[in-house]
Symmetry: C2
Subunit: 226 residues, 2 copies
Amino acid sequence: MGMRISELAQRSGVSVPTIKYYLRVGLLPSGTTTAHNQATYGETHLRRLRLIRALLDIGGLTVLATRDVLAAIDDSTVSGLDLLAIVDSATAAARCGIVDESVRDTALTDVTALIAGYGWRMRPGVRAIDRLAEICAAVRLLEVKELYGVLDAYAGAAAQVAECDLAVTRALAERVDVAPQQQRVILMEAVVATVVLGGAMLATLHTMAREDALSRLFAEEPQGLR
Amino acid sequence: MGMRISELAQRSGVSVPTIKYYLRVGLLPSGTTTAHNQATYGETHLRRLRLIRALLDIGGLTVLATRDVLAAIDDSTVSGLDLLAIVDSATAAARCGIVDESVRDTALTDVTALIAGYGWRMRPGVRAIDRLAEICAAVRLLEVKELYGVLDAYAGAAAQVAECDLAVTRALAERVDVAPQQQRVILMEAVVATVVLGGAMLATLHTMAREDALSRLFAEEPQGLR
């Protein structure tokens, strides 16, 4: 029932040398050693390998950050909210460059009001709040107030998408074909997949829809921006 | 009427050494040299400096990529669509790791159908199409089909947000207080600001709304993921 490494490579689309590298750096757990001193791998390895590729290729995580996320999935003392925090800090390096404190404070007040308006419950000190305040501060500094004006419409669209994320994660968690002892780790993997893939999906669809919308503007411009 | 570099630093929140660095690497155009051999700077420099910070801090662009984007803004032969392509390739390094060609082809068919369904006009070969196909292939490989099922709801939300982007960019382009000869460069700056800041805004709001939605799931889980 176990797979040889070559079969694992074939089914995952990841080359044998790459799988060996993942084993060496501890991204992938070791296989089971057989009587003939050969390692075999199971469905868990295949699933984990696919998640590793999604984190590296789609999420753009570093190998080190990927290892942190996988360790959190496997650690049964890590809660779902802890996991979100770990994925959060793994998906992006913190940046902080807006110096003007007063603009930033105004923006933070607006962001706090927005969160309250939507009734979003956030962990205190979650990075996204500061990040949004920083973006809003940049919007103010760049004097594109018009973008500030559509913040609420953006938040509404994000809330809609988040309801889909919830439905997806719940559906994944309620799969009946999963052994009870695997349920927690499968849910944790589902959370990571939804966060990383869902995030990339929305960002890419936004790029596409915006290209279409702006093309219309360029087409009507007298100055020939088409 | 010109500002000394110290005033420029104060008004932009960027330190004098950093401004000097931007001047040296060609991110910021030189000031006007006065009789006393001192350079002075205008509103254009201030505006450009704020855009540079937004590109570096919010967009996460490298200095080199920022220089490409600014050069495109200033080059009057660059069209709006050219600019979108340059921002597109500047905001992310191309990644391509999904090996399974057949899964990728299926995903590409689905993405093409989605684009046709929304009537989105895309430049041929635009990176976002391949990127979305790659994400969808990863979704299939990870066997989180549920996420595939909400692709359309995601696209609807993205389309809504893109209409806001169009309204914002149009409003910026129609500002009456701008000298005619500056109109093109201001519109180009508005496009870049909308793409980079709007993209970051939506991604961050998505993170926040998702955290709230998933908290609800964790709270109801019997396995204590809260």
